[in-house]
Every structure is written in C-alpha cells, then in structure tokens.
Chain length 199, copies 2
DNA sequence: GTCTATACTTGGATAGAC
DNA sequence: GTCTATCCAAGTATAGAC
C-alpha cells in the first residue's frame, strides 16, 4: 500500500482547496489543481468526472467540517451577543482561509439549475445551524415576534454578502465595524426584550 | 448618418445586458454578445478593449440608471417600513431583470484587486443611497444608537446575499418570507422607538 | 489506478482589408 | 468604424500505454 495509492481523492480535494484559496475561483482549473497537487490532470476526471463536480465535493467536504466545528459553539449560544461573536470569529477565520468567499464564487458561477440546487442543499446546513443558535439566543417574547427561519436566512445571506464585499478589497472592508454595530445592537435588544409583553 | 453608425457602443452595452440576463455571467462571452446584438465580435475589442472592461461599463451604466430611479423613492422614505417596501420592490424587479444577481456574479468573478476596487467604487453609490434612506427612516433616539453607515453596509450586503441565493433556485427562494419578517420587525421597532430614551 | 499524449472546443484578441 | 480571417492560449476531456 504505497503512500500515493492510499487516497488520491483526498490529495485532489486538498489541492483543489489550496488552489481555490490562493488563485480564486477563476484560477481553479484542472491544470492548476494538478500542478499544485503534483499529480496528473487526468486523475481529476477519472475520480470526479469533471472539475465542477470536484468543486461541489470540495464545498461539501469543507462545509461538513466547518459545520461540525461550529455546531459545538452554536449549541452554547445563550444570547444574541454570543451569536455576533461567533459570526465575527467565522469572518476572521475566513480572512485567512477564504472558505466562505470561495462559496460565494461557487454560487455566483453556478451555471445550471441542478448545480444551483446542489449548492443550496449544502448551504441549507448552515442556515439550520444559524437557526438553531438563534433559537437559543432569542428569549421568549422576542421569539414570538421574529420567525427564526427567516431571520436565520437573512443573517446567512448577510454573511455571504459581507464575505463577497470583503473579498473585493479586504483592506477596505467594513466588516469589523459592521460586527461592532451588530454587537451594540444585540446588547440593546437584550436590554429591551423584557419590555416586550407577550401578546 | 446610418442607423448603425449612430451609437454602436450603446448597442454593444444593450446586447451585453441582454446576454448577462439570459445566459448568466459564465455565458457572457464576446462571441455570444455579438451574436445577440447582431454585430461583429471584433467591435467589442475596438470599443471597449476587453470583455471585462465592457462588463464594468455595463455595471456602471445600469447602476447609474438604477440609482437615479431609486434615489427619488429613497428621498421619500419616512420609516423603516418604507425602506423594507423599497427593498422588496427592488427584489421583485431583479427577479425579472437579474441586474443585482449579475452584479454578484461580477463581484465573485473579479480576478484581480483593481477590478475588485472598481466594482466596489460603483457599489459605493448603492450603500450611500441606502444610508441616506436609513437616515430618514430612523428617528432621533434610534439613530443615536445605530450608526447609519454600518447599518447601510449590512443591509446592502444582505441584499446581495439574498439575490445570490435567489439566483441559485428562484423557485425555492425564501426572499418573500424574509421581507415579510423584515416588515414585521420594522413595525415593531417603530412601535418601540419612543421608549428609547436619549441617553 | 495512474501516467503520457493528444484531440477537441471555446473564447480572447489582433491584423489588415474595406 | 466595421468586417473577415485568423492566431493563440487555456481548458476540458479522452484514448491508450503502463
């Protein structure tokens, strides 16, 4: 059992992630992935059928991994402030890894409806994670007014948008200030919530 | 003065918009634009230098036009509910025109920093428009707590995210429900604002 | 399963006639 | 300013040896 033979698929996925991060979506071609991974370009088609397929699996694989990591943190959420803190740390992580930014590129580049739906299916896990955390973050009276599903959808969309904008010019990004604002807003809501009478 | 000679640039831009809307970003190639517009592919390079340049001008041109149209509506905003209503109608419009969805694709595909900055410069107008409307929508005490710049940035980002997700599968999009939620939230905030004492 | 080699396609871009 | 013709690069994908 040679070192090479063990798992070429894994090597390909790893090389694709690296390429995605360092070259962006447009630069992530079969040739470039193969060059970085030090294997033959034909292997991508043998193992995954197409580059688009490979990228879908990459999204699935990194997504599963990240969801698993953040699920623990999400379970501990007890307030909106906690939720903002998690969003901020995910953003910070993404400045380095570019994982979410890559997802936005994948979404934007989705050419056919099937591909779009496949990506959406994967993203659904993220929305559910946010929804779960949101359920814990919002206490009684607030929850009665704000449907968690839609709020989770809106928050997830906002996060995507922020990463999209940040990716355009990370130096000019206002993400930090936005998270500050959200943190202040979360505190305010937390103070006001007791005044909301259950109707 | 032949019909053709008058303004080829305009014809090219129009054809590019049509292509963008119907074929998506990936399908918007020099050849396809020319085919739709019924002119020669070489003209694109003569007039715009490159396809990427053409698309930047398209973004600028449609953006200017839309900002002008929405500026009037934004000036009349008097409450958060008004702002939500505008966002909803912009979304409805985008379901047909795909203009914002095209912008998200342009953003995601930006390959080099210069292109990214150019797009961001154009998008800045949109953020300012939202910020202006937000200034009118939030009355005294609320404005003191929520910085309009960051809120406008967050709202703009959320809108981009929603269009990105909607574009993946418009049939499954939850945008409508999200706008409903926002409308309810806006009403709630409007009711509670008087209770915010200026600190 | 992996490699080499290569066919095929598409799309950006330019030269040069008109 | 517009057209025809063409070049060139890049990328997907496959055939066939190993």
């Amino acid at each position: 059992m040679t070192r090479q033979g063990t798992d070429t698929r894994e090597r390909i996925i790893a090389a694709a992630i690296e390429t995605l991060r360092e070259e962006g979506f447009a630069g992530t071609t079969a040739r470039e992935i193969a060059r970085r991974g030090g294997f033959n370009q034909a292997l991508i088609f043998y193992h995954f059928g197409s580059v688009a397929n490979l990228l879908l699996e990459v999204f699935g694989s990194t997504s599963d991994e990240q969801v698993a990591r953040y699920r623990e943190a999400a379970a501990k959420v007890a307030s909106l402030s906690d939720l903002v803190a998690i969003a901020r740390s995910l953003h910070d992580e993404d400045l380095r890894s570019g994982a979410v930014a890559a997802v936005t590129q994948l979404m934007a580049a989705a050419s056919n409806p099937d591909e779009g739906r496949a990506i959406l299916d994967r993203f659904e896990e993220w929305i559910l994670l946010v929804q779960e955390a949101l359920g814990k973050a919002m206490s009684g009276p607030l929850e009665a007014v704000v449907p968690t599903r839609q709020a989770a959808y809106a928050i997830s969309a906002m996060f995507l948008g922020i990463e999209l904008l940040t990716h355009l010019d990370s130096h000019r990004s206002e993400a930090d200030a936005v998270f500050d604002m959200m943190a202040a807003l979360a505190q305010l809501v937390e103070q006001l919530t007791p005044m909301l009478l259950p109707q």
